[in-house]
């Protein structure tokens, strides 16, 4: 099986994935110029989370002086990777700032004031990685903060720690999306380093074959790769026909090996691992040169730029700085139209302060001719005419038109049946749609909502179990209490009936206690009455609190609290009074709040009294409320 695949590949024959499109490539804008090094920006903004997974824990505080390559966060669980200082400087702030996300929401970022010295932290250069054992290498990769640089940002060390037998290691150099040439240029300029990275991966995973998938629209990069791999039997450079989205993980696997990855399954279960070519370069940097992931090649392209070019950008560089370096002209009343990522899979960003992160491969600043809809800001969407072109081009063999209807109707069950989650957001359907329906946007909305729904389901399930557990516990407590009271009563009865001297003693003790309590009650009642009268006088007076305020702060606070309680009680009482008048109080209140019922009963009593003794309504209410107060204190 594997042999036949290799034979086929050596003959230059490949499989085909379903669908695909051929959009205008627009790669010439940047592919003829070398990768440019730019001057250090004044400030870097580093989001704590730049990949899939969770963010690490901060290691630095505001005001710290940091060196280039110093870790700023540490990972607490395997799914998180650390962030490093891209250059030396001082941490000026750690606060929320707009990040590269379609929502335009803010997340925690580290702000670095660059000092311009670019001085490195101490590094350990390793000339021969074969002397290191596998675990050390994986640790190096993990602590260098490497996450997949193709776009999704999956932590690389997780993929490498997998243990099953690997048949194919596929290096993804397809770079199929229009405009983007970052990988192309990186291969041309750094092919040796990339091959070193592939060798490290080979050492770690020991796959049977290594396939580099590259589209035939990059002749120079292909030449460079062939040159660099000339003496390595194991590595095959596979020149693939250009078609979007060949660079999709499952699509590339299909084209190279003819295998289809089942829905919901990972390539690793079929013995295949796919790594992006830029990730290979980062691995070389990390393992051999001890350079963490602090920079990447970013294609800055689009026709509103004077000098579109690939740039070595430090992570955290604000996009505005990159655009300035490439002579960005605002042509539309200064409205910023910038897309992060390619034209098909990227998203618009609203704020030019958004920084470059580990997964940003392209910044697109289109002109109004290239992307009119982005400028007009409104969609030209019309009704679906059921032409079926979207189904023809869908690389995941879904039915985009069906998905669209279900997404609009929010029919999530149907969406799951139609395998919405196999959609790779490639945008081919929206590209061919004659009705200009933004299909992918509908899917993105639906996906987010389904994920949200799943979270809610988990939460409600948890709430349900907690509610049930509580009910059982209360029931148990109640029976236990009844049991206890019963026993105590029996014991008391038994003791009373026995006319032993002890029992007599107990009797007299009880009587004495009762007398004491009675006396106390009478005393406190008098006190309470005087307080409540005072309250009555001043309750309408807003300034009364301040007048009561003594120098003693604590006292003031207590009295404020008491006043609050009083106010609330009074409010509640008046509410229940109203309800009482409407004669519907008990039925509604009983169910929700038996405390309210109690209050209502008190009020009712008060009412009855009120009828007897006219014009003394307020007093009675206060009595009842003070009674309540007493009750509260005794509990």
């Amino acid at each position: 099986m594997m042999k036949s695949i290799i034979e086929r590949i050596s003959q230059g024959k490949f499989w085909q994935f379903h669908g695909g499109i051929h959009p205008p490539e627009q790669k010439k804008l940047t592919s003829e110029k070398p990768i440019r090094n730019i001057a250090l920006p004044k400030q870097l903004i580093l989001p704590l989370q730049q990949h899939i997974g969770s963010q690490g824990e901060l290691l630095v505080t505001v005001g710290d002086k940091i060196l280039k390559g110093q870790p700023l966060t540490k990972s607490l669980n395997p799914m998180s990777v650390p962030v490093h200082a891209p250059t030396s400087g001082i941490i000026s702030a750690i606060k929320k700032s707009v990040i590269a996300h379609p929502s335009g929401l803010s997340e925690l970022c580290i702000f670095i004031d660059v000092d311009g010295n670019d001085s490195w932290i101490k590094r350990e250069i390793c000339n021969d990685f074969k002397t290191l054992d596998k675990e050390t290498i994986i640790n190096k990769i993990a602590s260098a903060g490497i996450a997949g640089m193709g776009g999704a940002g999956f932590p690389t060390h997780i993929k490498l720690s997998a243990k099953p037998e690997i048949n194919f290691l596929i290096i993804n150099a397809a770079e199929c999306e229009p405009y983007i040439t970052a990988d192309d240029l990186l291969i041309r300029e750094q092919s040796e380093a990339i091959i070193d990275g592939i060798k490290i991966l080979d050492h770690l995973l020991t796959p049977a074959f290594i396939l580099i998938g590259i589209e035939d629209n990059k002749p120079e990069a292909i030449k460079a790769l062939q040159e660099a791999t000339r003496n390595i039997e194991k590595i095959k450079v596979c020149i693939l026909p250009t078609k979007y989205p060949t660079g999709g993980e499952k699509q590339l696997i299909k084209v190279l090996t003819g295998k289809e990855i089942k829905s919901g399954s990972l390539p690793i279960n079929s013995g295949i691992i796919v790594q992006n070519i830029a990730t290979c370069f980062a691995i070389t940097d990390a393992v051999i040169h001890d350079i963490p992931l602090i920079r990447r090649v970013v294609t800055v392209s689009g026709k509103s730029l004077g000098k579109p070019q690939n740039i070595w950008a430090l992570l955290g560089t604000p996009i505005s700085y990159l655009l300035k370096q490439c002579d960005h002209t605002h042509e539309n009343n200064n409205k910023l139209v910038v897309v992060m990522g390619g034209p098909l899979m990227g998203f618009s960003i609203s704020n030019a302060q958004v920084p470059i992160i580990k997964t940003s491969n392209c910044i697109l600043a289109p002109s109004a001719i290239e992307m009119p809809s982005a400028f007009s800001g409104k969609s030209n969407e019309v009704e679906c005419i059921r032409c079926g072109q979207c189904s023809d081009v869908c690389p995941s063999q879904l039915m985009p038109q069906e998905l669209q209807w279900s997404a609009k109707a929010k029919d999530y069950d149907q969406l799951n049946k139609l395998n919405l989650f196999d959609c790779i957001d490639c945008g081919a359907c929206a590209y061919v749609c004659p009705s200009q329906i933004p299909l992918v946007e509908y899917y993105r909305i639906a996906k987010a909502e389904i994920r949200q729904q799943q979270l809610f389901d988990v939460k409600s399930e948890k709430a349900k179990t907690r509610f049930e557990a509580r009910k059982i516990r209360l029931e148990k407590d109640k029976t236990a209490r009844i049991e206890k009271h019963k026993k105590a009563a029996e014991a008391r009865k038994a003791a009373m009936n026995n006319s032993t001297p002890e029992a007599n003693g107990a009797k007299s003790a009880v009587a004495a206690a009762l007398a004491r309590v009675k006396a106390k009650k009478a005393a406190s009642n008098n006190q309470k009455k005087s307080i409540s009268n005072k309250e009555q006088h001043e309750s309408n007076d807003q300034n009364h609190e301040s007048s009561l305020k003594s120098n003693d702060n604590r006292k003031a606070k207590i009295s404020a609290t008491i006043a609050k309680v009083k106010a609330k009680k009074a409010q509640e009482a008046s509410i229940s009074k109203e309800v009482e008048l409407n004669d519907s109080v008990t039925s509604t209140l009983k169910i929700t709040d038996d405390k309210k019922v109690r209050i209502a009963a008190t009020i009712a009593k008060a009412k009855a009294k009120e009828k007897e003794i006219d014009n003394k309504e307020e007093k009675v209410t206060f009595k009842s409320s003070s009674k309540n107060n007493q009750q509260k204190e005794s509990t």
Partner: protein, 186 residues
Amino acid sequence: MIINIIIAILVLGSISVLFGALLGYAAVRFKVETDPIVDQLDSILPQTQCGQCGYPGCKPYAQAIANGESINKCAPGGEDTIKKIASLLGVEVEDLDENHEKDNRPKVAFIIEDDCIGCTKCIQACPVDAILGAAKQMHTIIIDECTGCDLCVAPCPVDCIEMRIIPETIQNWQWDLSKIPVKSLD
């Protein structure tokens, strides 16, 4: 003649007894555990246990719906829940009961800790045991367990509990189509 009739009665009688026994056995042996309607309804309800429907929890309301109560009383579930119940029971979708709050954005309770006097009243009111504290100790909400039912707000004697809307983050952010310009190539 009579013998024939007796034979017929015996034959038919024994057949009926045989089949009766067979059916009876099958009914016990191959009994299908169907999900009772109450459980199905309960699984649709949001489990906030808020009691806004007038019943002390979601399960009791599910029971009440099964007994003919109207389906539009669940405020936290909102329109979605009503739709789901309607499709389960095969009845018309109704608008949310007008007496209920329309705002069903997810919320959590928040205790202003400076004001808390440690009376434990909210702890007793919480249907999901999401409040931590003891008598005369400050209380606090376990945010991950809080269902946002606001049952703890009313019992608080010092009004130190307020309901806060859960802030939007990247994790719970919903795409808004009107904010995303549609992209296309020339």
